[in-house]
Each structure stands twice: as C-alpha cells, then as structure tokens.
C-alpha cells in the first residue's frame, strides 16, 4: 500500500471571528439579559476551550420572546406584503454569503466539524435556503396550497422552533427561512452546545433591519425548549432532534391547536449491489456515514452489501477509511472533526462497546487522537446481525455496521426492518432496480448512486418514527400555512 502523504498543517485563521465573552438573549430585536441571570458555557469540542458564557432562558424569557413575536406578527409581519417580506429574506441570504467565512469558522469552533464542511456545505446551504424561500414569499398563492378561506394561504402566527447541534446554522435556516417566507414570526432555541452561530445570526437580522420581534433567539437547554413548545401562544412547533424528544413534544401538544412538524432520528440502510462501481460506492459509503462525524440523522449507518462483493467492498472501504484525516476542525485538510460533546462521545463509546460485546467485529484505522477534546476514530463493525443493538439504534457517531444480503427482496426486508424511515441509499448500475428499490424502501429520501445530498428545493423528512412533515421545496411551505380542514 502506498505510504500516506504527510500534509503540512493548513489551519484556517480564527481571527475572522470575534467571540464575545458573554451573550444575552435575542428578544424583540435586541440582546437582553435573562430574567433570572443564569448562564452556561459553550465549549469548543476540539479543545475543550470555553468559548463564551451563554444565557440560559427561563420560562419568563420565553414568555417575553413569544409576546414580542406575537406583537411583531400582528403589527408588522402579517401586514407586510409578500414581496416586502421576501426582500428581507434576500437581504439575509446576501449577508450570510458576505459573512460566510466568519460563520464557517465559528461553526467549526463551536460544533467541532471540519472547516471544509462548514465552509462548503453548512453555510452555503443556509444562505441558499434563505434565497430559495425569499422567492416564495410573494408567490404562495401559486404553491397549490390554497385554503378554503381564500386564494392566498394564511400564516399560522408564532412558530416555536427547537433545533439540534449537528448542523446549527443550517438547521436554523431550515426552520427560519420557510417560517418567515410564509408570514410567521419565530422564537427559536438553538442547541445548548452550539449556540454561537445562531447568536451571530441575530446580528445578521439586525444588519438586515428585520423588524424587531420577527426573529427571537433564546439559548438554553431542554427546559427552555419545553417552555417554547408548551407556550400557549405558540401556533406552530417545529423540531429537529431525537425521536425520544420528538415523542415528548407530540404528547405535549396533543389536544392543542398547534401544528407540528418533527424531523427525528434515523438508521439508514446504504445498499450496495454487486454490479455497482465499487470505488464510487465506497466514496458514497464514506460520505454517508463519516460526513460530519456521523452526527447526521440521515447518515447511512447500516451498510447492506451484496454477499458476492462483500469482501471486495470491505477491503476497499478499509483502505479508504485509513486515508481519512482526523484532527483540528479548522485545518482545511481535516476529514473528521471532533465529537460535539462529552456526553455524545460517551454514548458512541457505550454503543460501540455493546457492538463488540454482542460479537460484531470492530475495526478502526490506526489513528492519532488529539490529547484534548472529544474524539472518536472512524469505526467499522463487520459480522453485524439485525438483532445487534448497533444495527438497530441510532449511534449518531462515525460508526458503520456492515450486513450482507443475497437478493433485492432480502435487501428491502432488512432495510425496512427498523422503526425509522428517514433515508436510504442504493448503489447499482441497473436503472430498473434503482426505481424498484426506490419504490420499496420506506424512507423519505432515497439517494441512488449518491448520498447525503441536500438542496432547499428538495423536500426532506421521514417516514414512521423519523417524524412527519417535510422541510424544503413546495412541500415544506405547507408546514407553516393554514391548509384545508376537511
């Protein structure tokens, strides 16, 4: 095997970001101190360095933010024409592009993801999301979602949104852009481990002169999120996160008028048939499971490979994984960054240990782990059966389980044998097989001969316990509009 090239360090400068020592809550267009003065710290997972002191919003702060959002909805945002709303969104898209490097560096610092991903995926997609939805704002009557009360679909009111730590800015964009385009106002809670890009986004709202109260950003942990979801004056709840919390939310809003969309966990099958081009498939497998350290709800964590090519695929996969570079997220050569938090690292370790204990074969490439920070090497489990917990539970880390199959019917049976249904991958040269598989797989997104592609015009969301509702495209608008009753 060829010797791995040695790369010189190529760190992106962090001088471009100016992190304040502490941050308030963004309510009614301004940063304000939390009512009870509590705070927590945001830590860089790659160095364990404390980045800033973050306000912990209480129920009183949530109430203040919801009131501001309601006021902004009644007095400004719902009265404004779609065209005017759209121009604010265009402004936000442009400012995100202008300040893209700042956002990318800050995201990698706070989240731990490689700069090449925050720079080339998270931030450009976030800007694209605002740009896409900006154009919808004055065209909603043509979206095919008209209501019985008139031609132009009506917004719901105040949206309470709770987002995860894996794509902090991108998930914010997925939530805020459609909500604003359809005429709703927003109270958003970013994840407690990754609040910084959301707080920088608050500055973007100020630079765009967005009317105060249209976007409110409250930092905090689970209790803050619960207060947002359960606030009686919230009309719409949008959540991305674990299936466990998603179920709590679905219970909490039962019997209310609140419209809900949930984007939850996954355990996607990535299915490789014997006629697939091996090298391309291996690239897709790697992209599918090691992208963003596997902190991806739609990650292809179950590799289903046809028995006849299993050895060949596995050999090639191990060679490729051995070339991945783990380390400083700000280094432009880094492929695998830091695990987002100590708690998440613990969960990945625990489930991986269970994989080993249950008898699966564990393999990781030789890999230097930095001394400080939270790290987990890319890991492949072979000889995994469907009963193994690593094949059933979402690990949310860089851990792949390899299973085999003989026939397409068996592949479908195994792929669908999960309570989740967010995404799936299929690799084959045979067109009719791709379309048959795409039809049979019970998942909201099917990537054929590709994986982990995202676009604001492409609806995203799950079947079964992966949640309901779609984000992106024409379908995503429906989540924020009053639609017919019967």
């Amino acid at each position: 095997m060829a010797k791995k090239f040695d790369y010189a360090p190529a760190p992106e400068s962090r001088a471009i970001v100016d992190i304040r020592s502490s941050y308030g809550l963004f309510i009614d267009g301004e940063f304000a101190d939390p009512a009870d003065g509590r705070s927590f710290k945001s830590v860089s997972p790659s160095s364990e360095e404390v980045l800033a002191d973050i306000s912990d919003a209480s129920a009183a702060d949530v109430d203040r933010a919801v009131k501001a959002a309601r006021r902004a909805y009644t007095r400004a945002w719902s009265k404004m024409s779609g065209a005017e709303r759209g121009k604010y969104l265009f402004r936000i898209a442009r400012i995100l592009q202008e300040r893209s490097r700042e956002f990318a560096v800050l995201e990698s610092l706070d989240n731990g993801k490689p700069i090449k991903e925050s720079r080339d995926v998270d931030v450009p997609l976030a800007a694209a999301h605002f740009f896409y939805h900006a154009g919808w704002a004055d065209k909603l009557e043509y979206a095919g979602l008209a209501t019985s009360t008139g031609r132009t679909p009506q917004p719901l009111g105040v949206a309470g949104q709770v987002i995860p730590w894996n794509f902090p800015l991108l998930m914010l964009a997925w939530k805020i852009a459609p909500a604003l385009a359809t005429g709703n106002t927003v109270v958003l809670k970013p994840a407690e481990t990754t609040p910084l890009t959301a707080l920088l986004f608050a500055e973007v709202c100020q630079q765009a002169d967005l009317p105060p109260g249209v976007v409110n950003i409250l930092t905090g942990a689970g209790e803050t999120g619960r207060a947002v979801v359960e606030h009686p004056d919230v009309d719409k709840v949008a959540f991305t996160g674990s299936t466990e919390v998603g179920k709590l939310i679905a219970r909490a809003v039962a019997g209310s008028r609140k419209k809900v969309t949930l984007e939850l966990g996954g355990k996607a099958a990535n299915i490789v048939f014997e006629d697939a081009p091996i090298d391309q498939s291996v690239e897709g497998i790697v992209r599918g499971v090691f992208f963003n350290q596997g902190h991806v709800c739609c990650a292809g964590t179950r590799l289903l490979v046809q028995e006849s090519v299993a050895d060949e695929v596995l050999t090639s996969l191990k060679r490729r994984v051995s070339s991945l570079r783990l380390g400083d997220p700000l280094d432009k050569n880094t492929d695998i960054g830091a695990i987002n938090s100590a708690a998440q690292l613990e969960r990945i370790r625990e489930l991986s240990q269970i994989g080993e204990d249950e008898g699966a074969g564990r393999w990781s490439p030789p890999c230097e782990i930095p001394e400080r920070g939270y790290w987990f090497p890319p890991t492949v489990f072979t000889g995994v059966s469907q009963a193994h917990r690593i094949a059933r539970e979402e690990i949310f880390g860089p851990v792949l389980s390899v299973l085999t199959f003989r026939t397409p019917a068996e592949a479908v049976e195994k792929a669908n044998n999960t309570p989740y249904g967010l995404s799936a991958g299929v690799w084959t040269e045979k067109g009719s097989l791709i379309l048959w598989m795409a039809d049979q797989l019970r998942a909201g997104v099917v990537w054929a001969n590709t994986f982990n592609q995202f676009d604001p015009s492409s609806p995203f969301g799950g079947y079964k316990e992966s949640g309901y509702g779609r984000e992106g495209g024409r379908h995503g608008l429906a989540a924020y509009l009053k639609t017919w009753d019967n």
């Binding site: 694209a128 095919g144 019985s148 299936t243 998603g246 179920k247 709590l248 679905a250 219970r251 039962a254 019997g255 949930l262 939850l264 309570p419 791709i434 795409a438 998942a443 909201g444 997104v445 099917v446 990537w447 054929a448 001969n449 590709t450 592609q453 676009d455 015009s457 492409s458 609806p459 995203f460 969301g461 079947y463 079964k464 316990e465 992966s466 949640g467 309901y468 779609r470 495209g473 024409r474 379908h475 639609t483 017919w484 009753d485 019967n486």
Partner: protein
C-alpha cells in the same frame, strides 16, 4: 297475516370476512327514538388487533396496485352502494332520525362522495408530487406514498356520509384502514362493509369495528403497527388518543367538530394527511 321477515345479523368486518366479536359480546342498537333495531357486535381489544393485522397484511397488495386499478375498484364500490341504496336510506333514516327524503339526499351525497374520491387515485400524485430543480447535476423528484395502516374513529352523528368521507380519502391512495363506526348508529357501517365485500376491494383494505369508542380507540391509538390515526369522531377523547399516538409517532388528524356538515364539498386535505413524501435523487451525467 304479514310475513315474518328475515333479519340481518350485524357483525364485524375483518380481513374480508364477517366474524362476531371474539369476545362474544354484543350491544343493543336503537333508532333515534330509542326503539330496538339490532344487536351489533361489541368489538374488543383482540378484535382491534386482528383488524390491524388484516390491514397490515393487505397493505402491500393494495398500495402496490396501480392507481388506475384502485380507482376502478373504488368506482365498483360506488356501483354496489347504488344497488343497496334502499337499505342505506332505511338505516340512515332510522338511525339518524331523518325523514326518508333527507336520508335519500344523504345517500346520494354518500355515493357521489365515494365516486369523487375514486377519481383521485391517479391524480393525487399530480398535486402532491414535484420535480425539484436542485443546484447540482441530479435528477430529483418527490412522489406521494401511502402512510400505511390508518386507524379511523368515524364521525358519530353522520353515520354513513361522515364514514365514507373519512374512509375514502384514507384508502384511495393505497393505505389500508381499521375504522371504528359510529357508536350509536353503527348499522350503516356494516351495510357499507357488505357492499365492500361484494365489490372487488381486497379483504383487509377496510376493516370495520363496532362498539365503544372509549374501549377500542385507545388500543388502536397505542398499536405500534398503526401509522396514522384519524380522530374525526373521537370528540373529547381526542386529546388522550393523540397523546397515546405519540408512542410510535403516528400521524394524527384531530377531532372534527361534532356538528360538522359532512355534505360540504371536501378538499384533498384528508387524502394528503395520510400521505408521505418520498424524494429520490440520482446523478445526471455521461
């Protein structure tokens, strides 16, 4: 002397067959003025679970049938309804306390509603699907697919028109369903089942239970192999049922106002509520 008529035994409809409740129980059904009409089966938890099994077993075939085929089968059901209209008029008028003329109009609307939904089978993709212009060399499209097994609590007052207005939109797109009929006026639902059984609808696509909503609906709401829950007729039980449905993230349609006029022209909303959107990506290139 008048001839002694042959009366019907009203049973459940599960997997295309008409069993009595496994519990051996029945309950007395009266007309709107309280006079005895029949003994209906009082469905149990086991009946509900059998019905879900039947619906799940029928899902692959029904969802895999072509939309054109489903449309024709459902149209065939409308033909069977027309043939039984006298019986429906009689049961609706007695059960809901309507005049013969009012009941006649309800049955007209019921059959027309069924035809309306039948015609949607091969059109719903046109309004719920899309081709998506992603920023990259990919072919990308979204299509609607049925959610799976849908449990339905039928409207309580509108025992026939309300019933077809919630069953039609669930099954036309390929879902299969378990429907809990109006508790006080269950007879039209069983007669509907007889029409379904004599059309070409595969057994298990629609399963009809009669009995107490507060006894049976919680088992449907908590069943882990039910994907969707339409609480149209659940009334005040709706809140608890919706909370229970969260156990496996069921898609829930909340209760409808008990006085809702089901004769109102429907929208595609109830069909869309029982659909998932699947998006498929494939690279484009030489």
């Amino acid at each position: 002397m008048a001839r002694v008529d042959v009366r019907k035994t009203y049973k459940l409809y599960i997997a295309g067959k008409f069993p009595r409740s496994e519990s051996g129980r029945s309950y007395e059904v009266t007309d709107a003025r309280g006079r005895f009409l029949a003994n209906a089966a009082l469905a149990s938890r086991k009946d509900a679970r059998d019905a879900v099994l039947a619906a799940r077993a029928a899902f692959g075939g029904w969802s895999g049938a072509t939309a054109y085929n489903r449309g024709q089968v459902l149209y065939r059901v409308a033909e069977m309804l027309e043939g039984r209209r006298a019986q429906f008029v009689d049961e609706v008028s007695r059960g809901e306390g309507l005049t013969a003329r009012q009941a006649d109009r309800v049955v007209d609307a019921t059959i027309d509603r069924w035809v309306w939904y039948a015609g949607w089978s091969d059109k719903v993709s046109a309004i719920a699907g899309s081709s998506n212009p992603v920023a990259g060399p990919f072919f990308n499209f979204s299509t609607p697919e049925p959610t799976g097994v849908v449990a339905v609590v039928a409207p309580q007052k509108s025992s026939l028109l309300g019933l077809v207005s919630v069953v039609g939109p669930a099954i036309v797109t390929g879902n299969t369903c378990v429907v809990l009929a109006s508790q006080t006026t269950p007879l039209p639902a069983i007669t509907l089942a007889e029409a379904l059984a004599t059309s070409d609808l595969p057994g298990g696509v629609v399963n009809v239970l009669t009995g107490r909503v507060d006894e049976v609906a919680p088992w449907l709401a908590s069943h882990m192999d039910v994907n969707g829950l339409d609480l149209a007729g659940a009334g005040l039980l709706g809140m608890d049922l919706e909370a229970t449905a969260a156990d496996n993230v069921k898609r829930v349609l909340r209760p409808v106002d008990p006085d809702h006029d089901w004769a109102e022209t429907p929208s595609p909303a109830r069909m869309l509520a029982h659909l998932e959107t699947k998006t498929v990506w494939h690279p484009v290139g030489v």
